[in-house]
Amino acid sequence: MKQLITIAYILLIVTSCRREFVAPVPNTDWDLFNSPTAVRLTRLTMNKMEGIYSFGAGADVFGDSTALKWSYTVSGNDTSYKLSMFCEKQAAYFILEGKRLDTSILLNGYWRKLVNTETGRVRLTINQVNGSNYLISPSPLNSNNKFAVTGTFSYGDAVPDRPVNIQYNRSLNRTTPFQIIAHRGGGRTADILPASENSIEILKLAPQLGSTGVEIDVRLTKDGIPILYHDARLNERLVQKSGLLGPIENYSYAQLNTIVRLKNGERIPTLRDALITIVVNTPLNLVWLDIKYHGSLQTVAALQAEFQQKANNMGRTLEIMIGIPDEEVQKNFLALPNSASIPSINELSPEKVIQTNSKVWAPRWTLGLQNEEVAAQQAQGRRAYVWTLDIPENIQQFILEGRFDGILSNYPSVVAYYHYAKK
C-alpha cells in the first residue's frame, strides 16, 4: 500500500510539471530544389498559380480546399517571394518557395496547424503532364487550362513521404477591397509561431500568414520611446526571464534593449523600427497602432506622419492609423493639433467616430454583424473593421453574411482562406 502511495505521489509530481509546447519550423532542405539549374519563377507564372484549389490526397489532414496566394518581403535589393496555402481545416497553412526546373515547377517548404503543434515538410511539383506549360508560358490562363500540384508531406523533420495533391478550381475572390489584419503584428506568441508577437520578425512573416495589414501594440518606455509590447507588465508569457519584472514603463529603452528578449529571442522593437520594417520590407498596406498607454500621443502622431510621408514618397499604398480603444485615449487624441485630419481607427461608438473624424469604426465582434450600422458608416465614407475574430465558424459567418471592410484576427490565414474562397 505504502509503495502504491509513493508511486502515486511520484506520478503526481511528474505529471504536474509544466509542459513546453513547441512547433519548430522544419528543415526544408531539398537537393533537387537547390540544384543550380533551378531558377526563380516569373511574376506571370506566380500570378497564374494563385487561386482556389481542391485537395485530393491530403484532404483528411488539410480539408477539402485551399487558397494559394503569393507574398513577398524585401531585404536590401533582394525580394523574396513565398507562396502561402491557406487551408480549410484546423487553421492549417503552408509556406513554400517556388522554382522552375526545366519544364517543372517545384514548391518546397513547410506546413503548420495553428490549433495544435503539428507541422512538417512539403515538397510539391507541377510537371508538364499536370499543366506546368500553361503556367510557364507567357500566355494568360484560359478556362480550358487545367493544372494540378502533386507531391508529398511529412510530420516534423521526416523526409516527406505522404501523398498530397491539389487541383486548380478557380481564381481568388478579389471583388471588393478587404483588409485581413493580423493581431499583434502577425500572431500571438502563445500560438508558437516562428517569431514572437509584436516583433520585427513577425511583421516580416505577417504577409505569408495571409495579412494585408497589421495591428501593433504601442506603449511608452520610462524615457518616452514608443515601443511594441502588448501587456502592461514584463512577464513570462511574452519575454524570456531576465529578473526584470513589473510595469514596462518603469524601464528605459536602453535597459529593455540590452537586457530583455522576447520569447523567441528578439529585442522589443521601437515603433520607429517597426514602421521602417513595414514600409521598406513588406507589402502590408495598413498599420493599426493600438495605443496601450494613457498619455500624450504627440510622439506617436509624429512618427505616424513621418512614415506615412515616407511610404507616399516610395509610392507605397499604406495607411498608418492611430487606434482609439477607450475614452482616455480619445481625449488624448483630440488634444493633438489638427486631430481631425489624423487617420484613426475608433473602437468606441459611431457617435465617437464622428467626434474624432476617424476613417474606420472598429467594433468588437461580440456585438454581432451590425450590418445596418456598418452600412451607415460606409455611407459616411468610412470603413468598418471588426475585432478580434478567431473561431473559424465566426470568421466564415462574418465574411459570408457581414459587410465589414476588414477583420482583425490572431489567425489571418483563416480569414484569408474564407475571404479568398468566397464566391
Binding site: R18, K222, R233, N235, E236, Q240, K241, S242, G243, L244, L245, G246, P247, N250, Y251, S252, A254, Q255, T258, I259, V260, R261, G265
Partner: protein, 203 residues
C-alpha cells in the same frame, strides 16, 4: 586564540543544549487538551535559485544562483495536530552582472518578500512538515543606465520540513529545508535555514 574561543563557545553551546534537553523539552505535538499557544519561528540561512531559464542567454555565465533568506513565521498551536499561521521574510532569488556591447556594466538582483498562510503538522515528536500558499512581493533591483526598481506580486506557495531540537519547554533550535515558489513568475528557491523556535504566548 580566536580558534580556541570558537571551540569554547561551541562546547558551551553543546553543554547548554544537553543540559536543557534533560528536562521535558519543546515539541510541536500537542501535550494536553485545552492548551493553546503562539509559536514564533525565526529563521535565517542560504538558498539556491533552482528554476531554470532565470537569466537571458547572453548573460547566463555571470549568474549567482545563491541567495540569502530570512523568515519569520508565527503559528497558532492548538491542542490538535494541525496548526495554522503566517510567514513572511526576505530572500534574494538571484543576481547577475553583465556588460553591454560598449562595455558598460550593469547588474540585476531579484528579491522577494513572501506573505504566506501556512499549515503544519508534527509527524514525529521533533519532525514537522509545513505547506502554505499566498503571495510573493517580488522586486527587481536594476543598476544599468540608471538605477531602477520595480515590483510585481505573484501568487505562490511553499513546502518545508524541519527538525526541532528542544532547548527548554518553550524554546527550540531547529533546521529547516524549504522550497519557496513564486508560481506566477516561475521563480523557485530551495533553502536551508537555522531556526529558533519560541513559544511566546500560552493560554
Amino acid at each position: 586564540m580566536q580558534k580556541n574561543r570558537h571551540l569554547i563557545f561551541f562546547y558551551f553551546l553543546l553543554f547548554t543544549i544537553t543540559a536543557y534537553t534533560q528536562e521535558e523539552g519543546f515539541t510541536s505535538q500537542p501535550t494536553k487538551r485545552g492548551e493553546y499557544s503562539l509559536v514564533a519561528y525565526i529563521s535565517g540561512g542560504a538558498g539556491y535559485y533552482i528554476s531554470n531559464r532565470g537569466v537571458p542567454h547572453q548573460f547566463r555565465s555571470n549568474i549567482s544562483n545563491r541567495g540569502r533568506i530570512g523568515t519569520v513565521r508565527v503559528m497558532w498551536h492548538p491542542d490538535h495536530l494541525l496548526k495554522v499561521g503566517l510567514e513572511t521574510g526576505y530572500l534574494t532569488f538571484y543576481t547577475y552582472s553583465f556588460e553591454d556591447s560598449v562595455r558598460n556594466s550593469g547588474n540585476v538582483r531579484l528579491s522577494a518578500t513572501p506573505l504566506l498562510v501556512e499549515w503544519t503538522m508534527a509527524v514525529t515528536k521533533r519532525i514537522n512538515l509545513f505547506a502554505g500558499s499566498g503571495v510573493y512581493f517580488l522586486k527587481t533591483h536594476l543598476d544599468y543606465a540608471g538605477k531602477t526598481s520595480s515590483t510585481q506580486v505573484s501568487v505562490g506557495w511553499m513546502a518545508a520540513a524541519s527538525y526541532i531540537h528542544p532547548l527548554s519547554k518553550d524554546i527550540g533550535l531547529g533546521a529547516e529545508i524549504k522550497w519557496m515558489d513564486a508560481a506566477e513568475t516561475a521563480d523557485g528557491f530551495i533553502s536551508a535555514q537555522v531556526q529558533l523556535i519560541w513559544k511566546f504566548i500560552k493560554w
